[in-house]
Symmetry: C3
Subunit: 132 residues, 3 copies
């Protein structure tokens, strides 16, 4: 069984938006009890991160990115080169196992969409649920 | 067909533990001949890395991480902010194709669990095998 | 349904080779209309990146890697330690959803194989298509 649904969220530049409950809702609708939930962020300047959704940690992650791929650095590509580099580091896809109809996430694991582009954008995440 | 089994391993802070043979054992039990093996590390301070299990290289990886996300840096989040950042860089999941009942890993590709937290922890990895 | 096929490409050291159309061809042959396309790069010094295939951006990505994991740095492992570190950062696998027989990639998302080793190598990417 394969069930697919998209999530669309408006995300400000460099912001993290938690979509865990939206993804859980899609898994429920799919009626898959045991299987896998895969997520794919459409767009070469966005990423999906599974980590703790805690404001101070998000600040630390932003500072870390500013240090290794600075928004003020010199790049050959257009104005959003750093957005692409950040997206490449964290990647566009994630897979989470499903057991008894629930995502097997740890206590502090939330699914977050990040928009690394230089401006606010609506981001699309394709959620595909496979299993029995 | 979907077959799921968890691996639990005690891992010291910043250590890498090779679970390749454990994963191969689960693939054998699943009886899947052609398909995919997906792995997911539960916990926001651990990661799964597929690379060469060679002690000097592991040292290099640790030094690299200490350079870009130092354990001694200043962070806003609690004491293990660097653990979360390191986990976000390497990610929590991996997918490996299966052919004739075997993982299609390269000669130097081993599956390793890393515990980036500040203390020893038992880490759980969910192995899901899908295919025919 | 599971369909598997390998792509082999010769890639120079540190180069990026676009395999999007080759992967699209495999999805067509598989006849899968709705499902998932997973990719796995065999080898501990190669990676798969989904991002914009634009020469200036590729230069920026190479410079970024040279900065954080320098080819001239001191390492304990053999001469290609930086190749392994770069491969670990970007990872070996990707998953892309398929809808109406087509990869759901964004406008600027291309699938690229990177050879981080110190010399030209033929790289193998296993493409597995699952779905209905």
């Amino acid at each position: 069984m394969t069930y697919t649904e998209s999530i669309k969220v408006k995300v400000r530049s460099q912001d993290f938006v938690d979509i865990t409950s939206k993804v859980e809702g899609i898994v429920r609708v799919s009626k898959v009890k045991d299987g896998l939930c895969t997520l794919f962020a459409i767009g070469a300047t966005s990423s999906l991160i599974i980590n703790e959704n805690e404001p101070m940690l998000i600040e630390d992650l932003k500072k870390f990115l500013e240090k290794i791929a600075s928004s003020k650095g010199f790049y050959h590509h257009a104005a959003n080169a750093y957005s692409h580099i950040r997206s490449a580091i964290f990647g566009n896809s994630q897979i989470i196992p499903i057991k008894d109809g629930r995502l097997m996430l740890g206590t502090w694991q939330s699914i977050m969409v990040v928009n690394f582009d230089t401006r606010s954008r609506e981001r699309e995440i394709v959620v595909t649920v496979v299993g029995d």
